[in-house]
Amino acid sequence: MDSAIAPYLFYLFSFVVVVSGLLVVTLRDIFHCALFLILCLFSVAGIYVLLGADFIAAVQVLLYVGAIAVLMIFAIMLTAKVSGIGIKQQNEQVPIAIITTVAFVAIALYGLGKTIWNIKTDVAIPDNTTMAIGKLLMTTYVVPFEIVSVVLLAALIGAIVIARRN
């Protein structure tokens, strides 16, 4: 990544992530929320590219933007009668939730500003991460890799069993 424009790209992507994230949690029409969720997830993929994680960015676009967001829109369409405009979408906890969230974010920002991170700058960042991640998934992390595929299979069967009509 060209280091001259990288800071501007970071602020651009961060702005889009934060604004679209706020719209996801505040808009009344749940379908618009899903569209802004797609925008937010896409900008997070841009953040991954800035961090040099090209494989994670591709997985983000394929899985989140391609699969999960479509699944969300599918569920919204199937429950369209109660998702429409004109129905109150937020409960009575909004003021206390604002206080809690602002306090949490303030404490987190204060903490990470105070912490001294063990940053390593002398190691070279590899250009292409896909081959290294693939090798690690097939050697060091092969047991979690197999377990997570069983988890996916269980979720697949579980979703079919739960949503099936008798």
């Binding site: 997830l41 994670i56 999960i68 937020q90």
Partner: protein
């Protein structure tokens, strides 16, 4: 102007806060699931940022974030199936109206 680790962590903290606000205030169950996805993404930004700045050579954070994405996909699948089942039985997906197991 250099972007440091703290910038990414601050972005992730703000995104986690936004997702938490959504989980606390949404009435629609699909909206709650979408807010949870925002929180998953905040965690993933943290993991990839730590991977880039703290352990750049051994890819621990990136591998972990792949597992987080896969588990998030499984969670979304099962969660939306449950939402559809609730909608079929109650004709309603507002979580404050579904209080059958609450007294």
């Amino acid at each position: 102007m250099e972007i440091s680790l703290a910038h990414y962590l601050a972005l992730a903290a703000i995104l986690l806060g936004i997702g938490m606000f959504g989980v606390l205030t949404r009435r629609n169950a699909v909206g709650i699931l979408m807010s949870i996805e925002l929180m998953f993404n905040a965690v993933n930004i943290n993991l990839v940022a730590f991977n880039r700045y703290v352990t750049p050579a051994d890819f621990t954070g990136q591998i972990f974030s792949i597992f987080v994405i896969v588990v998030a996909a499984a969670e979304a699948t099962v969660g939306l199936a449950i939402v559809l089942l609730i909608y079929r039985n109650f004709r309603d997906i507002f979580v404050d109206n579904i209080n059958l197991m609450k007294w």
